[in-house]
């Protein structure tokens, strides 16, 4: 067995792979947060809850209605996204223009509310969800075993991330979005329904979280508290990348997953703290994050 820095290659490769997969989830989730913060200046503390709702609804849709993974991949994010639009319309809209901190507090309350209700109904032990048969098994790469589902997660997450980045930064719709949030009065004057645009943007960011949730359902334990565990980490990722930077969120997400995986290989006790350590260091030298614009 070949060794690298005293660690077997297979172990290292395995941890790296796990790192990239976790990184794909971080990227999807931090992307949603970055969209919501970058365009709407809302600090969405309910993001973890939306991710959890994506995963939970996948399981529930299957158990209750027999809706399979492929359909859930579309239906669950749409449902959760619609729920996000409702929250934006009834709650977040009322504190628009206030200090950003109120959006943090409000969505924190929403997260407690959603998490608490679901915990009461489903308990905190994990729900089971088996992946579609197509993904059973994997390929042998000589030095390690690569499960098909993990490949699928990485590919799909990257596609979605790239698509979102492209849409916001390169298309006309994205230009409207950015303009609508910069100067809503002017855009209103051009006949664009800015409040609708804002609702839909929030819904879209939330959809990204729910989508990550669906992808997570077959591999992670699906519980009402799964979101609150990952939320704080994802916030650290967004801050490291630069709050509101779309590309930064994606790149940092994957990077942090890998760093976490490497730490787990070489110094396991620090693995859960390493991202926060990186965040502190980055903020000392680059206050607006790696890819953020100087404020």
């Amino acid at each position: 067995m070949s060794m690298i820095f005293g660690v077997p290659l297979a172990v290292l490769a395995g941890q790296l792979l796990i790192g990239v997969i976790n990184g794909a989830f971080y990227a999807l989730l931090s992307l949603g947060l970055a969209v919501i913060f970058g365009l709407l200046k809302i600090i969405n503390f309910a993001h973890g809850a939306m991710y959890m709702l994506g995963a939970m609804s996948t399981v529930i849709l299957f158990d209750a209605l027999g809706i399979n993974y492929w359909v859930a991949l579309f239906v669950a994010p749409l449902l959760v996204g619609a729920f996000g639009v409702v929250i934006e319309y009834f709650l977040l809209r009322r504190i628009a223009g206030q200090d950003h901190i109120y959006s943090l507090l409000l969505t924190f309350g929403v997260a407690l509310l959603i998490g608490g209700v679901l915990t009461n109904i489903y308990g905190v032990s994990g729900l089971r969800y088996s992946m579609p048969d197509v993904f059973q098994g994997g390929m042998k790469l000589g030095f390690m075993f690569l499960p098909y589902y993990r490949v699928w997660v990485i590919v799909l997450a990257l596609l979605i991330c790239f698509g979102t980045w492209f849409m916001i930064e390169k298309t006309k719709l994205g230009a409207y979005l950015r303009a609508g949030t910069e100067d809503s009065q002017l855009m209103q004057g051009f006949g664009i329904n800015v409040p609708l645009l804002i609702s839909l943007t929030y819904g879209f960011g939330v959809m990204l979280a729910a989508f990550a949730g669906v992808l997570a359902a077959p591999i992670y334990s699906v519980t009402p508290v799964m979101g609150s565990h990952i939320l704080i980490t994802v916030f650290a990722v967004v801050v490291i990348g630069g709050m509101g930077s779309i590309g930064g969120a994606i790149i940092t997400g994957i990077l942090m997953g890998v760093i976490e995986g490497l730490t787990k290989t070489f110094y396991p006790p620090a693995s859960s703290a390493v991202i926060f350590l990186v965040m502190v260091v980055v903020l000392m030298f680059r206050p607006s994050g790696l890819f953020g614009k100087e404020a």
């Binding site: 600090i43 709650l91 009322r94 504190i95 200090d99 950003h100 901190i101 109120y102 943090l104 507090l105 409000l106 924190f108 309350g109 929403v110 997260a111 407690l112 509310l113 959603i114 998490g115 608490g116 209700v117 915990t119 009461n120 609150s228 704080i232 916030f235 650290a236 801050v239 709050m243 006790p269 859960s272 703290a273 926060f276 350590l277 965040m279 502190v280 903020l283 000392m284 206050p287 607006s288 404020a295």
Partner: protein, 331 residues
């Protein structure tokens, strides 16, 4: 045109008004103090002490958020550091008197507060909140993995010991009056700080930081000091909490605790002196009452709902809304 007025008379009237206001305040404070002194005979002392500990925690947090405008999302770290340090010392050094254990816990939390402050103080607004959150997560992971904290199980059976080596704190009444004395001391300290010139500068920083800078104040130094005082008081709250309950647990270090103290402050009325105390009393009571009844499992969602309602509908909190009401209708 207006009547010619006598300057001296106006000043006299203002002074009289102020005296009357002060007298009203004194009476109100006196009544509150009597209530606090008599409370353990009407209610379970340990429950009252729980309220006092959280009230102190919220008062500490409010000094930073309500008066200086800095939202720390990592105050659980100081509460936990105080409670673990004191718990560890009192459990392992039987010669140590209780007040020394509490002072040590407070001191360690203060030092940690200084470290947090130096790392975070240059960041603004939401970045500040996020840095303090990240730092407190580091502290959380440290406590999870350290052996002396008992990991997930926490620390149990911390002895209450004797105050000054004389007063037996195993007696709930003795313990209550000790906690009350510490609480009142800290409350008066914060009141003094807030009304001092230093407190005025803090308020100025909150309202318009660039202006405070342009007036020549070294804003960061004032902020660091506010942060350190706040961390010290939060640590003290944690230290006392560990003595009162004779346990220290990871709950104290979890970021949900940082959220809870924000809720207490917000519900009570941030930026008011009494607000955090009222807020802590309210939240601890709600948690307790709910945990007794059929809504036992619904504490979290109900707190979440209160959070949402407060932010949406009455952002100035209970005390703030009452003040507004009084000003509008009786002033």
């Amino acid at each position: 045109m207006t009547q010619p007025v006598n300057q001296a008379e106006i000043q006299k009237a203002i002074l009289e008004q102020q005296n009357a206001d002060n007298r009203k305040k004194m009476i109100l404070n006196g009544v509150l103090l009597l209530l606090l002194l008599a409370a353990p005979f009407a209610m379970y002392p340990v429950f009252l002490m729980k309220i006092l500990c959280f009230a102190l925690f919220a008062v500490a947090f409010n000094l930073l958020f309500g008066f200086t405008g800095l939202l720390s999302f990592g105050h659980a770290a100081f509460l936990a550091t105080g409670s673990y340090t004191t718990g560890y010392l009192l459990s392992n050094y039987s010669g140590l008197t209780t007040e020394l254990g509490i002072i040590a816990g407070t001191a360690v939390a203060t030092a940690l507060g200084l470290a947090f402050a130096l790392l975070s103080i240059r960041r603004q607004g939401i970045y500040f909140a996020m840095v303090t959150l990240a730092l407190s997560q580091l502290v959380f992971f440290f406590f999870v993995q350290s052996e002396f904290t008992g990991g997930e199980d926490g620390m149990h059976g911390i002895p209450r010991g004797k105050l000054f080596g004389l007063i037996n704190l195993d007696d709930n009444y003795n313990m209550y009056y000790f906690v009350l004395a510490v609480f009142l001391g800290c409350y008066l300290l914060v009141q003094r700080i807030v009304s001092s010139p230093y407190g005025q500068i803090l308020k100025a920083i909150k309202q318009n930081e660039p202006r405070a800078i342009s007036l020549g104040y070294n804003v960061n130094r004032y902020k660091v000091l506010a942060f350190v005082i706040s961390a010290a008081l939060a640590g003290l709250a944690g230290s006392m909490k560990s003595v009162v309950f004779q346990l220290a647990s990871l709950n104290d270090a979890h970021w949900h605790m940082s959220g809870e103290v924000i809720l207490m402050t917000l519900v009570g009325g941030m930026g008011t002196l009494l607000g955090p105390v009222v807020g802590a009393t309210f939240v601890v009571n709600i948690e307790y009452q709910l945990s007794q009844g059929p809504l036992r499992d619904w504490v979290d969602p109900i707190l979440g709902g209160i959070f949402v309602l407060t932010v949406l509908a009455f952002r100035s909190g209970i005390v703030g809304e009452i003040q507004k009401f009084v000003k509008k209708n009786l002033g």
